[in-house]
Structure formats: structure tokens, C-alpha cells
Symmetry: C2
Subunit: 493 residues, 2 copies
């Protein structure tokens, strides 16, 4: 017979009183759901309890399961590389530029996004100077349109203009297509708002030399399957947002001999190999983004599903979409990333969170796959494998499943957490962690650090309120949910 | 006030008696040193307690520290690729072949080593058939010499003949040189004893096409530093014996554009790229071996040092060297690896442990760096990160230090355990784990599995006895060592 053991959860008052009397107490880390926000708890309860099918199964749960199944089935394949105007017809005339994140007008944009737009106009030969480019944008002669409706995903400023080459990624299961620009490398690059002559020259080289050869190589191979590359890379230290070293090499190895045959001459081939092999460890990021986009698009428009199908930022606002609402955006002002800064820079230099790259977190990569990457965990300040694995474990609490095709060897080969449910985010108070680069807040400077960002919690609450209202307006009359079922939902923290 | 807590170590008798009386007992995993072998304990005691300098510091300890410092300082660089006869003059005439491991005569060799020798003679055009080749070896017209004195390290059968190209690796600190053949890939390969026409054809292609281009590329780069490649690879799932996927890609990336410029034409370049990129994930192993060899050679011949500077096997015997004795070998019959077998094969097909590759374990890679590689830990049957990390932790108990230049991100960036001390191996009973491929026991079949092997413990005991005898004969008269110091040595398990 062992003596009784006292466990305390919630308020610390009871524990303190017992300890004062010399009674040993074990403290359990428990917090009330939804930070104790009664309105939110009420909405979550109604959302989950209120809508059920004939068998008593929650409408939202089964919609989410359906969405997850579709995401997991996706099989993204890179099929070619073509100029943006061929992929996105509205770019043809050259009077439109794309930018990352939710819609935003030129006057409201942050420095690096303005810098990238200016750079794009100079690259296209539509402006000879920064001043000329800014004047075109000021007087509305060139319009800015978000990437999202054009099926483009682009990191950071995410500026795409007519002659920039785009990767074309196709999901062989659904037929979905997504496009992403070619990663320029690190340092002074357009996506961080830099537009020096070197940046513009590199962009010209990418479209003139690199893109046609990549296109030829990829087509000669009949496409490159991206899921096996991502799966291998997760076992080689990449989380596929902040770190793509292994994936970039694996991709390069896949196209390696085809590249030799596709290159017009030795000098160009040598230039291409130099570009791919030296300091371009983030090359694969844009492919991971396009792969994530086609997969997440499979989960769009499922009635009742509360899964997040997209997260994106424009340096001012942070937008999410949930499956049920298709393309409807829920936005709020975006946060500054918490980051490690390059020497000479600090938080005051940081532009708020920016880019379409958070699509990879929706697919279970990046911050959600942090367990794959102790090196990236260093940006979490506690740069240990333990911290990395514990973050991925935490992310499992806000996801409805895991991806068996993308296993994490460090986490005993369990799949990446996949399918972020806004209900679980609100109930647990755990926000999805987005790994991210940090741009300088001023136009033209470039990258100043790397770290992670969190979505503003309001977007989750807005989506929940809207979903509840829409279901109450359009779903069959509610059935009650048992307290046990509700407890099970709320207890997932 | 908490009640007293009882901890039990050693014999289970006391614990059982207390538990029977309902007293809670915590069991500590403690074993008597050296498995309780009193002769061995006595030798270890005399070896450590008996020889000290004027400041009372153990001679063996300070010799080992010196050896470790030299190992850690090594900076291996690949400087070229040349035909074996240029590197190893005794091969010039063509009547000598090299084999891996301790010396062994043709009649005593295992099947795969015989198969590889036969293959080498056919490759050199010295025999037209297996029968002819065997006859040459039978009548002693061709002699077999171990790789070791020729500064060559070669995996598995380790057969090297005059026209095979060798990597030349130089330690820029000591000037030490080591040579290793070019890895042929996996499947039917000479090193596993296969000698089909395809195997011979591939060897010709390696010497005729691949080697000159690699040599040109490496020389045009002024050499390739191997330590940064190994350091990065340890963060990408490689332990650099059983798995070299990342290191092979990182190496290939380093020579990538130089290779384009060194290749005589596009077809040959495409062939080379195909060879390097498709199914040749073990390409870097031979470079890791040569790098380990030059580093471990730095620790040779340090008076009193009990560090293991080499481990090698020939399918019959297992040999180790310790620093103090330079090239003197301590041998015993070698074990069969414990392995996972390819479909259709089992333990009865396995040749005993073979090859020079265990030099990488001496340098802290392979089995000692298992924590880097949960995928390889699968060969330990418990294929988890936990098992992998616990193995590396165990290996720390038999090593005198760690290599800060080769950190393990999975183990909170601690360096690989480095410098295996025979005293610690004997005192703890923990043998160094050697990751290894498994050859079929019959000539000509090839690889049948992969797993790990353990050295026969006798080699450790022989080395300890010899070192003690030699120190007693040549060292200054012994000073006593305090019991505390001896306890500290024996308690490292």
C-alpha cells in the first residue's frame, strides 16, 4: 500500500495551501482552454457540439478529416520553368506586378516590398532609376496585385514581374498547379528589398541562362517528384523553411546529369553549377512552397472544415484562409519576427513578418517540422535538439493528423504534424510557429536576420466566429454534443 | 523532512531482501570493473598507478592527452587522384596486390577477399578467367600484401592493384599522406568480392574516365578540405561509415563546377554525373577513411599512450594498434557482424568482419557517431534516435575526449567521442561499435546485408598486457597512484 498522492491543476492556491501544511503535491501544467475566454469557449463549444451528422459525428471533425486525406494524397511534381507572363496571363502587358501576402496598396507597403517592386521595374527595363520606378507606382501606372489569386507563392516581398521565370509545380492527384519564382540565393536579393545593379544583373542571368537550362533538364526527366526530396531532406537536418541545404543538394543531384545535357555550353554550365553549389542553400525553399501550395489547395472549400489552408504576410497584415471559406481572408496586423540578427543589426531594423512562405507550415514543414532541424532550433534561442523536438510535439496539439510520407527520423520516424485546425489553436492557445527570414525595414537594404514569427491570434478568432455564423446560417439544425466529446476537444493541449 | 531513500548497487541480494520487507529501493546499474577479472584489474591498476611524472600525473594519461591533441589538430585535404602504382611503388611491377586488414596468406583468405583478388587480376589483364587468376595466386606468382604499410585504407576486401586510381589525402598539419581507392557504388562490386564482367567494366571506366576528371577538378580547386564536409554531414544524418549520403553530396557540390571544366566532353561529364548522383551514397566513405587515417597517424608512437590508432579486419582476424607500439598489431579471430540481411540472405551467408574501414571509428565516426544518424541506428534493431544517442553516449565512456570540429547537432552539438583508450574499453567492458557492410561468405556474390561488428575483447587485453610489460621494462620506476585516482579511472562506465 502506497500513501495517496496529491496532484494539483489550475489555480495554484490549493497547492500552496497543501504545501504549507507539508503535504507533497505534484503540479500538473494545465491551463484553462482558450485562455479562459468565455466568448471563445462558447463559440468553440457551439461549433463542435452544434453540427453533427446522423451518426452523431461532428460535421467540422469529419470535414477536417476529409481535408487532411486530400492534403496527404497530394503528389507535387516540378514539371517545368517558364516566364511568368506565360504562367500568369495578367502579367503579359507589364503594367502589373505581384506581391506576397494579403492585398495591399503601394502607399501602405513596408520598405522592403517597395524596394522589391522598384527593383522589378528596373529589371524589366520599365524604369531607369529608383526615382522613375517609384513615380510609376506613385501615379498608379503600374498596379500591384497579390500573388495568391495567380496561384503564385513567393517568399518575403514576393515580387514577380512578367519576364521572371517561374517553377511550375503540379499535383498529379488533383491536377492543381502552383508557381514559384527561382530563389536568388542569400545576401543582397530582391526578395529582401535590395535592388542594386548586382541584384538586377543576377535576375537577368537567372531568366536568360539558368531558367531555360533548368526547364530543359526538368522536362527531359519527365518532371521531378518533390515529395521524396522533402522526405529525405527531413532526415538530413532541413525543416524546409529556414533550412533547405539537403533538399537543395538532393534536387540538384536529381537533375544533375540532365543539366549537363541541357546546358548550351560549358561556360554556362559551369556558371549554373557555381550558382547552385555556392551559397544557395535556400534554393529548394521556393519548390517546397509550391509543393505545399498544390497540396493545401486540395483542402480548399470543404463545407465545415476549420483547417488552415494558407497563411501569408505582406509586412503589414497577416492573412489566413480556412478550408470552409475557400479564398476568403481573415487578416490582422502582423508581428515582428523574434530573430537572431546579423552583426550590426537589431530589432529596431526588422520589418514585420512578410511573404507567402508560411504555406510550408500549413503543410507541416518549417516551424512544425522543427524537430528535424536542431541547427534551425538555434534561432529559438534554446538551440537544442530537445527544444526542437518539443516544439514539434507542441505543434501536434494544434494539428488534426500527421503526414506518414514526410517522417521525422529524429522523432522516431513519426510524420510531420499536418492540418492546423483553427479550433485547436484557439482552444490550446498554441500558435503555429513560422520560421522566417527578417528583412530590413528600409527599402533596398536586404536581409538582417532570421528567426520565427507567430500569427496574430485575432485571425484565428475571426475565422472561428465566421465559420460558426456561416454554419448556423447554412448547416442543418444543430444536434447537441456530449460533454465528454467537448472535453476531448478542449483537452488537446 | 523526507524519509531516507535506499539505493542499491552491485549484487542484487541486498536489494531483494529489502524489497521483500517492503522497503523501496532504487537500483543503480553498476557492474564491477573489467567484468571482475582480477588479473585485468591488476594490470589496469599497475598501468595507471605505476607510471607518473614528477607532478604525479599519470604517464599514460598525459601521453593520451598528447595523442588526442594531435588527432584533433589534423586537417585532412584531398589533393589529387592518381594510379596506385604512382602512390605505392611496390605495385609498379604488377606482381603484388593489396588486401585489407592484418597480413593473411591467399590460402587462408575468406571467399570475398579471394573473389576480389581474382577480379583485380582480371581487371589488370593478368588473367583471362577466374581459374587463371586463382592459379597465379595458388602458385605464388602474385603476392598479397596488406594495405596498412603502404598507407592505403580500403573498405571490405580492400583489394588494390597497380592501375586502380587512389585518392591522395594529406594532413596539412603533419604532412601525413594516406591513399584510398574510389568507391565503386553499391550492389555487385569488387570490394564485396564480386568480379562479373560488369564489375570489371566499371573499374576500367573509373580509372579511364572518372579518375582523371576528379584529379583535374580537385587540383584546379587547390584541394578539397574534408573536415568541413564531415562536420556538415554529421548534422545531416550521416555517421560517415554506414551512411555517407550527405557527405557524398557535399563533396560533389564542392567539386561541382570544377568538374564541368575538367571533363573532356559532355558525354563523359554526363556519365560521371550519373555515376556520382545515382546510387553512390557511399562515395565519400573512402575519403572519410583516408581522412581518419592521416589524423590517426598523428597519434602514432607516443611513449605510454594507450589510444587505439587503428582497427582493421581481413575476414579472419581483427587487428588493433595502440599509439605506444606504432605499427605493432594485436590480433584475434574476428566476429561476424550482427546485421540486417538483404531479402534471401541470412546469418549463414555472412562473411566475418572485413576491411580497413574501422579506421573511421578510431577517429570518432561511424559507430561512435551513431547519434548523428537515427536511420543507421535501424541496423541496431532498435532504430530510434534515442538508441542512436544512447550508443554515442556509451562510446564517450571509452574515449579520452571529443572532437569540437565534428559536433553532433543531435547531441546538443557536443563533439564526436574521440580517442578510444584500451584501458577504458577493458575497465568498462564496453567495446567500440563498428558499423559495417556484410559480404557473402562465398567468392563472387557480393554484399548481403549491413549491420555492426564488435572487436574481439582479447585484442584489448593483449595490448594492455604488452603496454604494461613494455612500460615496466622501459619507463622510470613506478610511483604509487592514489586510490581516488584509480577509482576515477575505473568508475568511467
Amino acid at each position: 500500500m502506497t500513501p495517496p498522492h496529491i496532484i494539483s491543476a489550475g489555480s495554484e492556491l490549493f497547492m500552496d495551501a497543501l504545501r504549507a501544511q507539508g503535504v507533497p503535491v505534484t503540479r500538473i501544467a494545465w491551463k484553462p482552454p482558450a485562455h479562459g475566454d468565455e466568448t471563445l469557449i462558447g463559440m468553440l463549444f457551439r461549433l463542435t457540439a452544434g453540427f453533427r451528422d446522423g451518426n452523431g459525428v461532428s460535421l467540422v471533425d469529419s470535414a477536417n478529416e476529409k481535408a487532411l486525406r486530400r492534403i496527404l494524397a497530394a503528389n507535387p511534381v516540378l514539371i517545368g520553368v517558364r516566364p511568368a507572363a506565360e504562367c500568369v496571363p495578367i502579367l503579359e502587358k507589364g503594367d502589373i506586378l505581384l506581391h506576397a501576402g494579403p492585398p495591399i496598396d503601394w502607399p501602405d507597403m513596408c520598405g522592403p516590398m517597395r524596394g522589391a517592386l522598384v527593383g522589378a521595374l528596373m529589371y524589366e527595363g520599365l524604369a531607369a532609376s529608383v526615382k522613375e520606378a517609384a513615380a510609376l507606382l506613385d501615379r498608379g501606372a503600374v498596379r500591384c496585385v497579390p500573388t495568391r489569386p495567380c496561384r503564385v507563392v513567393a517568399p518575403m516581398a514576393g515580387v514577380v514581374s512578367r519576364s521572371m521565370p517561374l517553377f511550375i509545380v503540379k499535383d498529379t492527384e488533383s491536377g492543381n498547379i502552383a508557381y514559384a519564382p527561382i530563389n536568388e540565393g542569400v545576401g543582397h536579393v530582391l526578395r529582401f528589398g535590395a535592388h542594386t545593379p548586382g541584384v538586377i544583373r543576377r535576375l537577368h542571368w537567372i531568366s536568360r541562362v539558368l531558367a531555360p537550362v533548368l526547364d530543359g533538364a526538368v522536362r527531359s526527366l519527365g518532371g521531378v517528384h518533390l515529395k521524396p526530396v522533402m522526405a529525405q531532406a527531413l532526415g538530413m537536418g532541413d525543416e524546409l523553411h529556414q533550412r533547405n541545404t539537403a533538399a537543395s543538394m538532393l534536387f540538384q543531384r536529381t537533375v544533375d546529369h540532365a543539366l549537363t545535357l541541357a546546358a548550351p555550353d560549358r561556360d554556362e554550365e559551369s556558371e549554373i553549377r557555381h550558382f547552385l553549389s555556392s551559397g544557395n542553400d535556400q534554393f529548394f525553399l521556393n519548390l517546397a512552397m509550391a509543393a505545399s501550395r498544390v497540396a493545401m489547395d486540395c483542402a480548399q472549400n470543404i463545407f465545415g472544415s476549420s483547417l488552415i489552408t494558407s497563411m501569408s504576410r505582406n509586412g503589414a497584415s497577416f492573412g489566413i484562409q480556412i478550408s470552409h471559406f475557400g479564398e476568403r481572408l481573415f487578416c490582422a496586423p502582423c508581428n515582428r519576427p523574434r530573430a537572431l540578427y546579423f552583426p550590426g543589426f537589431n530589432e529596431a531594423d526588422a520589418c514585420p513578418d512578410m511573404g507567402d512562405s508560411a504555406i510550408v507550415e500549413c503543410y507541416g514543414l518549417g516551424g512544425l517540422a522543427m524537430g528535424a532541424s536542431p541547427a534551425v532550433a538555434r534561432f529559438l534561442r534554446a538551440g537544442t535538439l530537445k527544444a526542437a523536438l518539443s516544439l514539434t510535439r507542441q505543434m501536434r496539439h494544434i494539428c488534426v493528423g500527421q503526414n506518414p510520407d514526410l517522417p521525422l527520423p529524429n522523432a522516431e520516424f513519426e510524420g510531420t504534424p499536418t492540418g492546423i485546425d483553427v479550433r485547436l489553436v484557439a482552444a490550446t492557445g498554441i500558435l503555429p510557429v513560422i520560421n522566417s527570414g527578417v528583412a530590413h525595414i528600409r527599402s533596398g537594404v536586404g536581409q538582417v536576420g532570421a528567426g520565427y514569427a507567430l500569427p496574430p491570434p485575432q485571425v484565428m478568432h475571426q475565422a472561428i466566429a465566421a465559420l460558426l455564423a456561416d454554419l448556423e446560417a447554412h448547416a442543418p439544425p444543430p444536434h447537441p454534443l456530449s460533454c465528454g466529446e467537448m472535453d476531448a476537444l478542449l483537452a488537446r493541449q
